[in-house]
């Protein structure tokens, strides 16, 4: 395969070249189409999940903000808004917990001599690998026995545990390229370990810490199974509400919620990409 088609390419090579690109184009379409399609559908004036003839004619009457108003409680149902605000409490709290503990541990793990490093890593990353239904069933049993089941604290603890692998992976990756002589230089010039950490190490690994935090945030923000089992009616999150809505009677408000979530994902992805480039620049690698 070549990036550009040379002028001497045979017919067979040309066919192959274009077929390959068309196939890849179709895959990109498959990847992005389902995510983008919900955006126009969410402005449907009717309660349908497909395009109405008015929408296809681009008739303004076919479009409305009805589903968004319903999300905000225009129909007297504030459950979506309530779920959204629950999510906005749980996700940041869980993120804060996993980032602070995770960053410390990642720094510890990146020291040159750590006994049982591989085993510790395997243990810390396992919440990402163990199926969620197993994790949540276990958490249900255990948290019930210590009366954390059905409480906000229980859900936050559970989500923090799920976010930890992402923080560990991103922060250790950033630290692997961290130049240790910088901390020695700081110590040489009289800085104590705490000052060295905050003035030298932290600013350099901050991009990694923030992207780890964003991963942890989205993990909690998007999580259903644990909330279903560990939480109770008082901890209904946005995904919980969506899951129940999709399983029982599917309401078009879901389209508006989905669109809002897609916009949030785009914002998070942009932030992470910018951080990655900044981090590569800091490390002296060529910016993408």
């Amino acid at each position: 395969m070549a990036t550009t088609l040379p002028p001497y390419a045979t017919t067979g090579q040309k066919i192959w070249y274009y077929a390959f690109r068309v196939f890849c184009g179709l895959v990109f379409f498959y990847l992005i189409f389902p995510i983008l399609i919900v955006i126009p559908l969410s402005f449907n004036a009717q309660d349908f999940f497909t395009f109405t003839p008015e929408m296809l004619r681009l008739d303004p009457a076919g479009y409305s903000l009805k589903h968004y108003r319903d999300f905000l409680g225009a129909n007297g149902d504030y459950s979506w808004l309530q779920a959204f605000s629950n999510s906005l409490i749980i996700a940041p709290a869980a993120t804060l917990l996993s980032v602070s503990l995770g960053t410390l541990a990642a720094i510890g793990l990146s020291q040159p001599h750590v006994p049982y490093k591989r085993q510790i890593m395997a243990l810390l990353i396992s919440p990402m690998i163990v199926p969620l239904i197993i994790t949540s069933a276990g958490m249900f049993f255990f948290y019930s026995s210590v009366s954390l089941q059905g409480t906000l604290a229980g859900v936050i603890l559970a989500h923090a545990a799920l976010g930890i692998p992402f923080v560990i992976i991103t922060v250790t990756a950033t630290l692997s390229s961290f130049d240790r002589s910088l901390t020695r230089a700081a110590a040489n010039m009289g800085a104590d370990p705490v000052t060295t950490f905050f003035k030298v190490q932290m600013p350099l690994i901050l991009p990694g810490v923030i992207s780890g935090g964003l991963f942890a945030f989205i993990t909690s923000f998007d999580e259903v199974v644990v909330v279903l089992l560990v939480g109770s009616a008082g901890q209904k999150t946005l995904p919980w509400q969506m899951f129940i809505g999709l399983r029982e009677q599917i309401s078009p408000t879901i389209l508006a919620v989905a669109t809002i979530l897609v916009v949030i994902s785009i914002a998070l992805l942009t932030t992470v990409e910018m951080l990655r480039r900044r981090s590569e620049k800091l490390r002296g690698m060529s910016p993408g």
Partner: protein, 424 residues
Amino acid sequence: MAETSTNGPMLAADGTPLKQSLAKALKRQKRMALLLIAPLLIFVLVSFIMPIGSMLMRSVQNTAGTDYVPDILPNVVVALEDWDPATGELPSEAAFKAMAIDFAAAFENKQHTQLGRRFNYETPGMSSLFRKSGRPISRLKIDQVTDFKSELIGMDKDWGKIEYWATIKANSGYYTASYYMAAFDAERTLDGVQMKEPDQRIYQKLMIRTLWLSALITLCTLAVGYPVAWLLADLPLRTSNLLMILVLLPFWTSLLVRTSAWKILLQEQGVINDIWVAIGFTERLSLINNQLGVVIAMTHILLPFMILPLYSVMKTIPPSYLRAAKSLGADNTTAFLRVYFPQTLPGIGAGALLTFILAVGYFITPELVGGADGTFISNRIYFQFSSMGNWGLAAALGTIMLLIVLLLYYVYDKLVGIDNVKLG
């Protein structure tokens, strides 16, 4: 290096031997590192590992509600000790008396229905017997009744069923293997433990379906993801970074959004079927609530986990290798099969294992688009857990699944190394 004036060992600045001083520093470094890791390790142990442990315990604990069965039926356990169900005879009068005493106490503590439900998992019908017998048995005057056997059987003739008593005897310990038996589609009969009839082996069927669909989905992500990863690795960085957004955006989008998008697209009155009809076909396709729907949606959802590891491996293969192969006379197919493909194998291994591990545990997507024949073992665990309340069986199924996943995780660690997991 400091030179020492004496013939003794090299000394550090403070006068201790250098070797000792270095060992001390190393030890301090290790302690420091562990101290930094400790808070998180404790946190993960408490919030994650102990819950998993309590699930493992649940799968063998013989409990009804919150109490162990032998603690609810202490006298029955003793009275049934010498009884052998294989003789075909009912237990002794003493056992019936013990049952009346324990049952009345259980009724007092409102445990008899939970106890009935516990035995009902083994032998259907016992739940209703226990529920119905609650009040009548509690009214018995224990010290006035002479023949408990005929009294109980007179109350409900089900008390005269040997298989019920056999179930009680078989499940009277603190720990039980019966949940695992159920999870492996075996049952305890009067002739010992036997496999269920082939058409009743639901968990085997479900386990095989889960593994087969996960393998199929992994294969689909590989078939679709390999060319895309190759293109991304081959294009100039600026273009590939732009196209990479199309891979990363789904990765960052909520799983529920993607699942609901597929539910909306694939349904009978959905966009895809509308286009299908508009093209001129009359029959609408059934794309959802079946295995096809699960494969389409999950391939989409897991595709980034395949493309990203493939891409990071392909990025390291110099394009000149392929050119060299061709200039040495290989045709396109040979050059690909003998030169390029073998070098991408680590990426294929990493991507396929990760995709498969994640697919095996999927719950939400099969639940929402799977219908009856597209559900996974996770869905059954959830059903047993929330609808049937059979926590022991849910825990046993979960433990079996956990073992499969941990085995794959171990292989992944050996082949790829967990510290090589890449996120975006």
